[in-house]
């Protein structure tokens, strides 16, 4: 199960990702990000309640973040669990994100 809740506060769009981001659930992520207002200049992906991400889920997160950065929108992935943070780190997620 994946649960996505968003809030817009001025130019900042926050997406709270809860549950499991996996092959079966990733489609909702891109859709949820389209709810941001056109003048959004910062997106916060709040992963406090993200329990699990498989490789497809990680890729969806990365592709979403890269797409936003290409629109010069700042992206912050916050409140990752230690395990998920280590997994993303090993995969090279942060290195790719920082390269743009």
């Amino acid at each position: 199960m994946l649960s996505l809740r968003h809030t817009q506060s001025g130019n900042v769009f926050t997406l709270a990702i809860a549950g499991e981001l996996a092959l079966e659930t990733v489609d909702g992520l891109q859709r949820a990000l389209t709810a941001r207002s056109p003048d959004t200049n910062r997106v916060i992906l709040d992963c406090e309640k993200l329990l699990f991400a498989d490789s497809t889920g990680v890729n969806a997160l990365l592709q979403a973040a890269l797409a936003l950065k290409r629109f010069t929108i700042r992206v912050d992935v916050v409140h990752l669990s230690d395990d998920l943070k280590e997994m993303l780190d090993i995969l090279g997620f942060f290195e790719v994100l920082d390269s743009l």
Partner: protein, 266 residues
Amino acid sequence: MRGIPERSPWPVREPDREQWVREMQFAVRVQEALVGDTTISVSGALVSGRSVPQFAVGGDCFDLIPLPNGGLRITIADVMGKGFGVAMLMTMFRTAVRMATPETDSPGALLRRLNRQFYGDLQRLGSFLTAACIDYSPSSRQLTMASAGHPYPLLLRTMGDTPEPIKVRGVSVGMMPDSQYMEVSVSPADGDKLVLFTDGVVEARNAEGSEFSAKGLASAIARLRGLPAEVLVPALLDTVAAFATESGVRDDVTLVAADFAGPRQG
């Protein structure tokens, strides 16, 4: 959804169920031949591996390639996703590893070359893969390894209680166009064991939803440390199967184990 190409310039007959079954059966045979049980012994090392797809075929692979110096190149890889499409990518990648091995003198060079080769296709597909490569040299008794986003290999020292991760890192294949891959070298002593795995091993779940985890794998390796590599691999797979419920193995699973026992072997 139709299971035939949508952009064919001529009418393509949609395969009937029997045709699908035949194609699937052959695909399973191909994959079994490529990544089924394999054990290789070279001077000072015995290495064994096995890959089990979640569905009929999958995106995990490993390979054990003898080197001209009497050593061995060990590779393991995991293509994002599951099923037939990723199995095609896996087969391409495994072939590319074999083609590139005679022309790349180190694991880092191999991964750099494969990343450059696969970056375009993987970007177009919105996909990536993780891979690790380890070269074993019997003359120097050294393991040299590089990783492209792959889970850390575990090394169980003869005197150690539990396996320690070898923290070698690099960006996954297909994420950046020109990634560099650092190398880490370790010298295994007689009796040491090395285990490589894909994330399907540690992400297997029991009925309560708990993951087998890297810690669980490390404990199992320590408990089964007396087994030779070719017995350890199926024993670890049995341990994962016993832990997970029928639906608890949610990804392809691959394990490779190596024993280091001095120059007597081989």
